[in-house]
C-alpha cells in the first residue's frame, strides 16, 4: 500500500469520525474515559494483536514476521521488563537514588525500536530503557545517572542513541535539528524522537513540530501516551487526542495500540520509511499505560484508582504476545524456560555491575565542562586539589 493511499484513507476515516462525533448523542459511539467527562469520541487505534493474543488485520498496516522474529520481540520485552524490575529493586535496596520504570510500556518501546535501522538515530527521554536495549546500549550504562555517578555518560554516536534528556521535550528539537542535518547530508536515514503525554504540552515539542514540518525533516515523533504525567491525567494536557495535533502542523498523525508490539513495529516502520523517502515527519501516539509509579519517588495511590491499573493489566503487552506465540505454536516450553534463565542471569549481572560501579574521583567534578579549556575551571581545579591535598598532609601529624 502506498503512503498516498494510506494518507487519503486516513483523511476519510478522520472526517467520518468527525461526523460520528456530531451525532454522538444518539449513536453507539464509545465515550472516552469518564475521568473528566470528556465528550470526545474514542478514536480508532491501530491494532494487530488483541489483548487476548488474537492476530487481527488492519487496512493500512500489516506485518509479516517469522516465528524467530516474533520470539525475538518477546525476548526483548521480557528482558527489558526484567532489567526494569531489577533496577526498581536496586533502588529499594539503596543502590540507586531513583528509578523511572517503563513497566507496561515494553511493547511501545520494543516495537518502535525494532523498526529502526542501525544508521537511524534515537533521541530518548529518561524512560526509554527498552529502546536502549534494542539499540544495543549496555543496560548497565543506563544506571549510572540513577546511581549518581554520572549524568548519562555514554557516547551517543556509538549506538546512535542519544543521552537521556530529563528536561521534558528538549530532545524533540535536537532530534529535529539532527534530522535537518541528515537531509543536508543527502542521507536516507531517519530520526526517532520519544516524548510523553506530559511533554506534549511543552513549547519545545510544538516548536519541533513546526520546524520539522517546515523543513520536511526525516523525523518520527513517537509519543508514549501513558495516561499520566506524574499525578496529572491526560485530560490536563489536551482536549483532543494527541495524534490529531499533527494535522494542525501539516503532517500525519496516527494512534497505535501501545501495548501491541506488532502494531507499534508496523506503524513506526511505515513512518520511518516515509521519512526516508523525504516525505517528512509523522506523529505516532502510542496509547499505553504507566503501570508503575512515575519514578520510585512517586506515590500513585494518592491520585489514581487501583481499578484503572487493573483494566490495563488485562492489556499487558507481554502476556498477549505470549498467548499468540503459544497458540500458534511459535514457541515451546523450552524457549520460555531458557528465556527465564536468561532473565535471571541478566538481573544478576545488572545487580553485580551496579554494586561495583565506582564513585568517580573528586576531581571529576571539573572534567568535561569545556572542550577547549577555561581559565576559571583550571584555577578552581587547582584550588580544589590543594584543598584536598591539605587533608592528606594533615593525616601525617
Amino acid at each position: 500500500m502506498t503512503v498516498e493511499s494510506t494518507a487519503a484513507r486516513k483523511t476519510t476515516r478522520r472526517s467520518s469520525g468527525t461526523k460520528r462525533t456530531a451525532s454522538a448523542s444518539t449513536s453507539t459511539t464509545k465515550k472516552t474515559s469518564t475521568r473528566a467527562g470528556a465528550e470526545a469520541t474514542e478514536p480508532e487505534l491501530v491494532q494487530l494483536l488483541t489483548p487476548e493474543g488474537e492476530r487481527v488485520q488492519h487496512p493500512d498496516y500489516d506485518i509479516d514476521l517469522s516465528a524467530e522474529e516474533l520470539r525475538g520481540l518477546y525476548r526483548d520485552m521480557v528482558l527489558t521488563r526484567r532489567f526494569d524490575a531489577e533496577a526498581t529493586s536496586l533502588q529499594r535496596q539503596g543502590e540507586l537514588g531513583l528509578w523511572a520504570s517503563l513497566l507496561g510500556q515494553e511493547a511501545a518501546q520494543i516495537g518502535s525500536g525494532r523498526a529502526l535501522r542501525d544508521d537511524d538515530y534515537v533521541f530518548p527521554t529518561y524512560r526509554e530503557h527498552g529502546v536502549a536495549w534494542v539499540r544495543g546500549v549496555d543496560p548497565t550504562n543506563l544506571l549510572g545517572m540513577f546511581r549518581g555517578v554520572n549524568h548519562g555518560g555514554w557516547d551517543p554516536s556509538s549506538n546512535n542513541f542519544h543521552l537521556y534528556t530529563i528536561v521534558l521535550g528538549s530532545q524533540t528539537l535536537h532530534a529535529t535539528g539532527y534530522a535537518m542535518g541528515i537531509a543536508k547530508d543527502g542521507a536516507d536515514s531517519a530520526v526517532l524522537a520519544y516524548f510523553g503525554d506530559g511533554a506534549s504540552s511543552q513549547g519545545d515539542v510544538n516548536e519541533s513540530f513546526v520546524f520539522s514540518a517546515v523543513y520536511n525533516a526525516p523525523v518520527v515523533f513517537f509519543c508514549q501516551n501513558n495516561q499520566w504525567a506524574i499525578s496529572e491525567p491526560i485530560e490536563k494536557q489536551t482536549r483532543v487526542p494527541l495524534y490529531q495535533r499533527a494535522a494542525g502542523f501539516g503532517f500525519p498523525g496516527v494512534r497505535v495500540d501501545g501495548n501491541d508490539v506488532l502494531a507499534c513495529l508496523a506503524v513506526t516502520r511505515s513512518a520511518l520509511e516515509r521519512a526516508r523517502r523525504g516525505e517528512g515527519p509523522t506523529l505516532i501516539e502510542a496509547f499505553t499505560y504507566r503501570m508503575a509509579a512515575h519514578t520510585t519517588s512517586d506515590d500513585p495511590t494518592r491520585y489514581r484508582r487501583d481499578a484503572e491499573r487493573a483494566e490495563w493489566e488485562a492489556k499487558d503487552p507481554i502476556l498477549r504476545l505470549k498467548a499468540y506465540l503459544e497458540n500458534e505454536g511459535h514457541a515451546d516450553a523450552a524457549f520460555f524456560e531458557a528465556l527465564e534463565a536468561e532473565s535471571e542471569a541478566l538481573g544478576k549481572n545488572v545487580r553485580e555491575v551496579v554494586r561495583a560501579m565506582p564513585v568517580p574521583e573528586h576531581m571529576a567534578i571539573f572534567d568535561h565542562t569545556y572542550a577547549d579549556g577555561h581559565a576559571l575551571v583550571d584555577e578552581e581545579r587547582a584550588q580544589f586539589a590543594a584543598y584536598q591535598a591539605s587533608f592528606a598532609a594533615g593525616e601525617g601529624e
Binding site: H151, G153, H174, G177, I182, T369
Partner: protein
C-alpha cells in the same frame, strides 16, 4: 586587501563569509538572516552567495532555533545562530542553559557543541522595550558556556572567527550601537587569543575595565581625564567567560585603582565578580575600593530616559573622581 577600514557590522559580515567559505559544515540560522540579511544586515548577501541550505531563515521560535542548532551540532555541523535582539533570547534560555551548556559534561566529553549564538546587545539606539538589554551575566554564570564581546572591528572579525572554530558553545554579544563605527581589520594578521583582555589605553593612576560598547565610552573618559591631568588606563576585557583576571591584576598592581564599567545592571553584574576577585588578588595594592558603574536595578527604561540609565562619560568620570578621592 588584507587591511580594510570596516564598520564593525561589516567586519562581522566578512567574518561570517569567510567561515562559510572555509568550512562546509558552517550553517547560519536565524530570523530574517536570508534575503533581508538580518535586521542589522550582519548576514547581508550571504544567502544569495551560499544558498538557503547554508543561510537558513527559520521559523519564529528562539528555543526551536537553538534546539535544532544543537541537533545539527550533534550531526557534525557548526551552527551560527542569530538571535535578533538581546531581549528575545529568553525563549531559548532553557535550551542554552539545560542542554547546550551541559551536553558535553553529560556525555563525559564524547560530544562537542560547536555552536555560536550571536546576540546584538546593549542600548543607546532609541529602541522600544526588549531591544536594549545587556544579559551577559546570565550566561557567564553558566558553566559550559563561553561569553565574549568585541569592542572594535578587528575584534569583531577575529573573535567571531575564533568563536566559530571553538568546540565549545560561545555566546557572542555584539555591541549594536557600535555596529556602524569603523576600524581597521587586517584579515591576514595573526589574531590574539580569544579569551585575553587587551590594554586599550595605557595609564598610571587608575584602571577602567570595560567591554563591548563601554570600551569606547571609557576611552573617551580617559581622554577627558588626561586633560585634567589624570592618567587613566583602559582595559578592554573582550571575554567575559572566561575572564582574563591576570591582565586586570597586572593593570591594577600598577594603577592601584579600579573602576568597572558595563551597561548591564550593577547588581550581580560582571563588575561584582571582578571587584571580588581583584580585591582578593590585589588587596595590598588597592588604594580604593573597586567601584562599579552600570545600569540600575530597574527595567531598562523607555528610550527617552536611556541616556540617564546608561553609563555615559560623566558617570564614568564621576566614578574616576570618587576612586581618586580615597
Amino acid at each position: 586587501m588584507a587591511v580594510q577600514n570596516l564598520p564593525l557590522a561589516k567586519a562581522l559580515n566578512e567574518s561570517l563569509r569567510k567561515a562559510l567559505e572555509t568550512d562546509p559544515k558552517v550553517v547560519i540560522m536565524g530570523l530574517d538572516v536570508g534575503k533581508l540579511g538580518g535586521v542589522f544586515r550582519i548576514t547581508d548577501g550571504l544567502q544569495k552567495d551560499f544558498g538557503e541550505d547554508r543561510v537558513v531563515d527559520t521559523p519564529l521560535a528562539e528555543s526551536g532555533i537553538v534546539g535544532t542548532a544543537i541537533g545539527l551540532a550533534l550531526r557534525g555541523y557548526r551552527p551560527i545562530v542569530e538571535i535578533q535582539f538581546d531581549g528575545f533570547v529568553f525563549p531559548a534560555y532553557d535550551q542554552i542553559v539545560t542542554q547546550l551548556a551541559k551536553m558535553r559534561a553529560r556525555s563525559l566529553g564524547t560530544v562537542k557543541m560547536p555552536v555560536v549564538i550571536r546576540i546584538p546587545y546593549g542600548g543607546g539606539i532609541g529602541a522600544v522595550e526588549h531591544h536594549s538589554e545587556s544579559p551577559e551575566s546570565l550566561f557567564a554564570h553558566v558553566a559550559g558556556l563561553k561569553v565574549v564581546t568585541p569592542a572594535n572591528s578587528s575584534d569583531a572579525y577575529w573573535m567571531l572567527q575564533q568563536a566559530i572554530q571553538s568546540d565549545d558553545p560561545v555566546i557572542f554579544f555584539e555591541p549594536k550601537r557600535r555596529y556602524w563605527d569603523k576600524g581597521e581589520v587586517d584579515t591576514e594578521a595573526f589574531p590574539g587569543e580569544l579569551h585575553k583582555a587587551r590594554v586599550a589605553r595605557e595609564g598610571t593612576d587608575l584602571t577602567l575595565a570595560a567591554y563591548g560598547p563601554m570600551v569606547k565610552t571609557c576611552l573617551e573618559a580617559a581622554a577627558v581625564a588626561a586633560e585634567e591631568g589624570k592618567s587613566v588606563e583602559v582595559v578592554d576585557l573582550r571575554s567575559i567567560s572566561p575572564l582574563d583576571f591576570d591582565t586586570i591584576q597586572a593593570s591594577v598592581e600598577k594603577t592601584r585603582r579600579l573602576v568597572v564599567v558595563h551597561e548591564a545592571p550593577v547588581f550581580f553584574g560582571s563588575g561584582a565578580e571582578i571587584a571580588a576577585r581583584i580585591t582578593e588578588r590585589c588587596f595590598y595594592h588597592l588604594e580604593a575600593p573597586v567601584l562599579r558603574v552600570g545600569g540600575y536595578h530597574a527595567p531598562y527604561p523607555p528610550a527617552r530616559l536611556e541616556e540617564e540609565y546608561l553609563p555615559g562619560l560623566d558617570r564614568v568620570l564621576d566614578a574616576v573622581d570618587r576612586s581618586l578621592a580615597y
